[in-house]
Symmetry: C2
Subunit: 343 residues, 2 copies
Amino acid sequence: METTAAFYVGDRHFTIEQIDTKPPGPGEIQIDVAYCGICGTDLHVYLGHMDARVGKHRVIGHEMSGTVAALGEGVSGFEPGQPVVVRPLHHCGQCPACQRGHQHICQNLKFLGLDTHGAFQQKWTVPAHTLHHLPDGLPLSHAALIEPLAVACHDVKRGRVSPGDDVLVIGGGPIGMLIAMVARQAGGTVAISEINKNRIAFAQKLGFATHDPADGDVAESILKATGNKGADVIFEVSGSQPGVSLMTATAATRARIVMVAIHATAPQVDLFQFFWREIEMFGARVYEPQDYEEAMELLGAGVIDADAMITDIKRLDEIGDAFSDLAGNPEAMKTLIQCGTEA
Amino acid sequence: METTAAFYVGDRHFTIEQIDTKPPGPGEIQIDVAYCGICGTDLHVYLGHMDARVGKHRVIGHEMSGTVAALGEGVSGFEPGQPVVVRPLHHCGQCPACQRGHQHICQNLKFLGLDTHGAFQQKWTVPAHTLHHLPDGLPLSHAALIEPLAVACHDVKRGRVSPGDDVLVIGGGPIGMLIAMVARQAGGTVAISEINKNRIAFAQKLGFATHDPADGDVAESILKATGNKGADVIFEVSGSQPGVSLMTATAATRARIVMVAIHATAPQVDLFQFFWREIEMFGARVYEPQDYEEAMELLGAGVIDADAMITDIKRLDEIGDAFSDLAGNPEAMKTLIQCGTEA
């Protein structure tokens, strides 16, 4: 059967191709993809930063929603037509990390949509263990936010945000904004540090206090706002040296820093402050199954303003424009690609 | 009453002075100091690195043991002649850290022997709340190790070392060596990474596996020794860029790094590895009261080889020689100053 798929072919280009889909194999499920959001990682692929990992003929995309199309041999618990999302992690089960119950950071982890073909296509076949049932009544467009929202749930869990905590999110992009919303729901008093004026306005519209480093010393403002205590939980989502400097300058004694950003170079870190204030830091990567469950609950409960987050929706055959628009647009938050023929 | 005190007077010099001692004030206790060890921080003072903090007429020293000499007004629970040690931390009780129960890292902490006069003198007067009774039968020379041993107990507690953990101590100086002994007692399989041949030999004599970066890639050796898992708990005690690089290179998924060293400059840290393996890091500074209790128990139980650790004992009037010897001696571990007239 022929379907349509968008292939990243290197150097900011996609081709739209008609391909033959095989039926799902044993243990697999085939999905009719409805929507797939563009992740920051997908943008890195588009810009050519990850060719060594993904190659130059790869269907990418992993922030998806859809419905079950067909079940492979031995698969149960799902029925054609059911709305689902995929947790795009395939672990080995054998390495020391898996043996200790950390399958989500398996030492041989395959990330679906990077290390395998992804969801920027009409039909996507994945291991059945990666699927989550969607709750009734959740629009499939909103459900495409579940993957990044699960990242935020995982991050907030790693930071153990509790009622009364002063929380600082450094970097107000899509993930930072979702972290802020989840941390607020967990009882934190959340501020966001951001340099982009459009994102500052977006954060304020969602009700968050904001700090712009261009307007003065952010650490000083935070200390003043917290009675000389500092922030209890800090999410470093900027991936920048100024962000890394801010995270230690603004930390309370025994503060918990969550390292969300992907730092391609090793920045300078004020380790003296770690010693002096007994600061704690927790790396946080992707999500565990319960983070997906929590993300679906929060989305269903209306905690996340999905309509505000989704700033654009484009068709699969417009994927090239969608990426080039997003790469240069400071007002965008989340762009979805509509992969199916109907909403 | 006249007694003898050693004053740091700047630029690698001490003067021995006869001073008048006042009786202890309300809430204070005066101690006949028996022994006081030379800490790495004291060496920094001696080398002139901390003049801005301590000035140039300061009695330093805080790794001490002694006996109660006199009680100030309103002090109970101690009697003259009782053997004691001092936990040299005076907190404000008012700041956010104190209010949250973290008095040991009080935001206005006074460290006795740096911010006030210390124990390199015959009689030392301190707030009564800083004293711990010594258990019977512990030699006062050994008891001078309780302060650095409490540091090690605090560090191991921060790293939550548990039976079966693979532990790496980066830096085999006195604190690194004590951490290694406490971590082994907690059930860890402990290795030490160290560049100084004398310290490597010392560590091996105490039964520890050692890694010398000069002999090959330490991270590779650790991964090989742990079935490609890495170390579960890592103590960074070197205060060096190579140590900081090693701590991330050798970490297992979800490893716990304890930041013990005082990093005067901000080194480059591979934050990508924190993200990728969800590494955790915990700053650790000084100790809490229970760390002193644990240190006394471990010392009493013979877990720490005190005689091996104490590599020299000198008289108070030899303090200048003691510091200059220690500064240039790669074989030294811990030098004690005998402050009293008898052992």
